[in-house]
């Protein structure tokens, strides 16, 4: 059976399976969500109106035996940035949709009455039902649906933040243990909420499964690929053993750890929230804690972990560097248990941890609470955000909006999205990525930390300007392509160093679809995705003038290296010369 697109119209309540248009046949993941948004969403539409569309797509390799191929992409026009948006996460749904032969789900229109719905999807049907789960947190939604539909059902849901259409609301995807992973950035949860959808439940029974043009060739290539993942020192050893939060001490030592709303590049309380402390605590507390955990079936890297409380019960899972940094160092908080509690609450409320942490940093600078006030932060989550009070709404609107409301000048955002965990003054390649990414400030879009800090894929001095534009450009192109395959971005560590692993990805694509792509075609795919996204942004009103970092980065030096952001506008704009 050939793949189809499921189109759900929330205005009329109709659902239909459509054949895949020729132009989209070779696309998946981000490539497909961005192509659909660019083709069908008017760039000037209101992100929360009936003309915006929310698109889900598994990657080209999702559902196959390829390791780490279960990432799900979601795309729309972002209510946070006003640009095109793609966000991806693990969980069990991408694999299921691929096995069901559903290449994408397009959700369009919006219901006339303010009601809340769930959508039940099987391989040949989609049913829209009214739900009484208004106000429920993601964990109870997942639990309830897993009970009703059998524990194996996939769940994609929003929490109260999405229902309230907060611009920092995310979308949760159920993971193999019934906890959640997040389609985190850019407020896609608000788009889902604006369409009156609380959840999608995915029932893969009777799914036709994956067909291969050449199954043996696929098997061979997937073995080469998995071998590279387990043999490369970062993906085979570093990531699984220490998790992503090992970066906290790395960035602290490098002087690139944004601290107390980007005042300094190192944090005196770093040991309290470091990966080393997290690792020791997980081992010491035992119980349900796990040093290794995978966000989707088929991940051989297992960078994630489960962080237990004092009694060994799960406190937070998928408690990653970005979240620990945003609410920790950036807010002057060194209490890991408090951060775990906030992380867990944010998963339940359905809000992006990076946007929340950076917003809190701005709130602390504005004097709403003081730096280091962990209980104040938890109170704001519990009493204000969850309840949708005026302050809660302001926090949920993100750093740029809260900064404006309080007359703040030092607000670390690009295109309205908060800058993540690497200061652009001392990890300069990341500054180029933040400035130029079609998504607003996003570290995953072109992760120059590899060459700037980790010595993977060559070395480019993080404190100098030389080589950063080219590095960011190459990585952004490669990332757009990888984001289309459904592969987790961490496969980039071996791909940057071991040529056979890149060839194996090309071979897998060819064996799955009966193509004869070369490496150059894959880079061309990345290039064309970036250009499609940029063209959407241009039509939405974004010029080069939006590709800029906030002014304070060029005016305030960052200790300890006392560097500033010193790229000229022309140097940044040269990024797009390809």
């Amino acid at each position: 059976m050939s793949d189809r697109i499921l189109r759900i119209d929330m205005t009329s309540g109709s659902t239909v399976f459509e054949p895949v248009p020729e132009a989209w046949a070779g696309l998946g993941g981000r490539g497909l969500t961005s192509a659909i948004v660019a083709a069908e969403v008017p760039p000037t539409c209101h992100p929360l109106g009936k003309n915006n569309k929310l698109v889900f797509a598994p990657g080209l390799l999702s559902g196959t035996r390829a390791a780490n191929s279960g990432r799900l992409s979601a795309g729309a026009k972002s209510p946070l940035t006003g640009t095109i948006k793609e966000s991806n996460a693990g969980g069990t749904s991408a694999r299921m949709l691929a096995l069901m032969g559903i290449k994408a789900i397009i959700i369009e229109g919006m219901p006339e009455e303010k009601k809340l719905f769930g959508i039940h999807v099987t391989h040949d049907s989609a049913r829209i039902v009214e739900t009484d789960m208004a106000g429920a947190g993601n964990f109870s939604v997942v639990e309830k649906l897993s009970g009703e539909e059998g524990g194996k059902a996939g769940v994609i849901s929003i929490g109260p933040a999405g229902e309230m259409a907060m611009p920092s609301a995310n979308i949760s995807v159920k993971d193999p243990q019934g906890r959640v992973r997040s389609l985190g950035r850019g407020g896609l949860g608000a788009v889902m909420g604006s369409k009156g959808i609380k959840y999608l439940s995915i029932d893969p029974s009777d799914a036709p499964g994956i067909s291969y043009a050449d199954e043996n060739a696929f098997k061979e290539a997937s073995k080469v690929f998995a071998k590279a993942l387990t043999e490369h020192p970062v993906s085979g050893e570093g990531l699984p053993t220490y998790g992503t939060n090992v970066l906290l001490n790395v960035l602290h030592e490098a002087g690139g750890l944004p601290t107390r709303n980007f005042r300094t590049g190192s944090f005196d309380g770093h040991e309290g929230i470091s990966g080393e402390t997290m690792h020791a605590r997980i081992e010491e507390r035992g119980g349900e804690g796990r040093v290794r955990h995978s966000c989707h079936p088929g991940c051989v890297i297992q960078c994630s972990q489960v962080y237990p409380d004092k009694n060994g019960k799960v406190k937070a899972s998928g408690f990653e560097y970005e979240s620990v940094w945003a609410m920790g160092a950036n807010c002057g908080i060194d209490d890991l248990d408090a951060l775990a509690e906030a992380d867990h609450m944010l998963d339940d409320i359905g809000m992006d941890t990076i946007e929340f942490g950076v917003t809190m940093g701005v709130a602390m600078e504005a004097g709403i609470l003081s730096f280091g006030d962990a209980s104040g932060m938890l109170r704001i989550l519990k009493e204000e955000v969850t309840k949708g009070s005026p302050l809660g709404r302001l926090v949920g609107a993100g750093a740029e909006c809260l900064g404006k409301a309080y007359g703040m000048r030092r607000v670390p955002t690009v295109k309205g999205q908060s800058i993540p965990a690497y200061d652009p003054r001392s990890v300069k390649g990341m500054g180029i990525t933040y400035a130029t990414s079609t998504m607003g400030a996003d570290h995953t879009a072109g992760y120059t930390v590899t060459s700037n800090i980790l010595n993977v894929g060559g070395m480019v001095d993080p404190l100098k300007k030389e080589g950063q534009v080219e590095l960011s450009r190459n990585l952004q192109i490669a990332t757009a392509a990888i984001d289309s395959t459904g592969l987790c971005l961490f496969v980039a560590f071996p791909v940057l160093d071991i040529p056979e692993s890149f060839n194996a990805i090309v071979d897998m694509l060819n064996a799955r679809f009966g193509l004869s792509l070369t490496g150059d075609d894959v880079s061309a795919l990345g290039t064309s995705i970036l250009k499609t996204e940029r063209e959407f942004n241009r039509k939405a009103g974004f010029t080069e003038a939006a590709d800029r970092l906030p002014e304070f980065f060029s005016e305030e030096t960052l200790p300890p290296h006392n560097t500033i952001w010193d790229f000229s506008d022309a140097e940044v704009d040269a990024f797009w010369e390809f």
Partner: protein, 74 residues
């Protein structure tokens, strides 16, 4: 000559987190790693005073050397 040495992740096991002790003159990141029985092929990142450094950089009194195993994240 006093040199600060900071170790991270698995390198701390059965060693230390941070030390400020006197070393002979002419030390380099490589020679200190050797004396601490850390195989160079396990070292992923070497910082001296927060900047990337060559394993054979001669260290000066007051320098801070940070050694990380091969790690990643994002």
């Amino acid at each position: 000559m006093e040199i600060g040495v900071r170790l991270f992740a698995g390198f701390r096991k059965e060693r230390f987190r941070e030390s400020a002790m006197a070393w002979e003159a002419g030390m380099t990141p490589r020679s200190i790693a050797g004396l601490l029985k850390i195989p160079m092929e396990e070292v992923g990142i070497i910082f001296v005073n927060g900047r990337h450094a060559d394993p054979d950089l001669p260290l000066l009194a007051g320098d801070v050397l940070s050694l990380f195993p091969v790690v990643g994240g994002g």
